[in-house]
Subunit: 104 residues, 2 copies
Amino acid sequence: MTGVMSDKELRRVTRGFQTLHSVLRLRILAALAERESNVRDLEDVLRVSQPLLSWHLTQLRQAGFVTAERMGREVRYRFQPAAFQELVHTMETLLGISLSNEEK
Amino acid sequence: MTGVMSDKELRRVTRGFQTLHSVLRLRILAALAERESNVRDLEDVLRVSQPLLSWHLTQLRQAGFVTAERMGREVRYRFQPAAFQELVHTMETLLGISLSNEEK
DNA sequence: CTAACATATAAACGCTTATTTATGGATTTA
DNA sequence: TAAATCCATAAATAAGCGTTTATATGTTAG
């Protein structure tokens, strides 16, 4: 039963994990999960420089965790829950575990 | 509602993600999820050098994904599902999402 | 006790990537 | 159209980490 999952599929997963490896990235995601925001808003909330934010947002977007939409001169970023959910689902399959919410 | 989660808690999560960032690590975990093994067995299954395996196993162990037990001159490694499950649970809380297995 | 086996550790190297600083591009406003 | 605003990109630097090679530690067998 070894090797049932392709390297391509696993690389997609590891890319997701790589992208979530810093506290700042998680804080950005959490902020966007609360409400969609432009870069300026995040800058104020998270107290980090604008280029640094742009870079992290690009990484999160390329990994599918957020989407970006130009609106006037702003760019609004939105959290995308599906990306993480799919990641977890692949891991459940790979490891043969389940994350059932405690049975009621 | 921003910042409900401590940096300490988030660092624990990011450490978990950091640890799962390579395909080889995932393959090691998947192999151990199938059956507990010593280093020699994994070496044969995964076709990587012994020091490299030892290093990755140490990382996985320090992050809580596996446990190690000395048995004679071997060391048996076991997959530890709880670590990943807790990781996911923290993320659900942080992002306000749920990964419910489809409701029946 | 010595040799063989199983695993861990150390040193050295290279690569990736986060961060800072500076600048460019796009859009609106006056 | 000129200035201001918002965001992205480039260059440079530094730090972390995976990989290899070599050696050390621990355990059993003869």
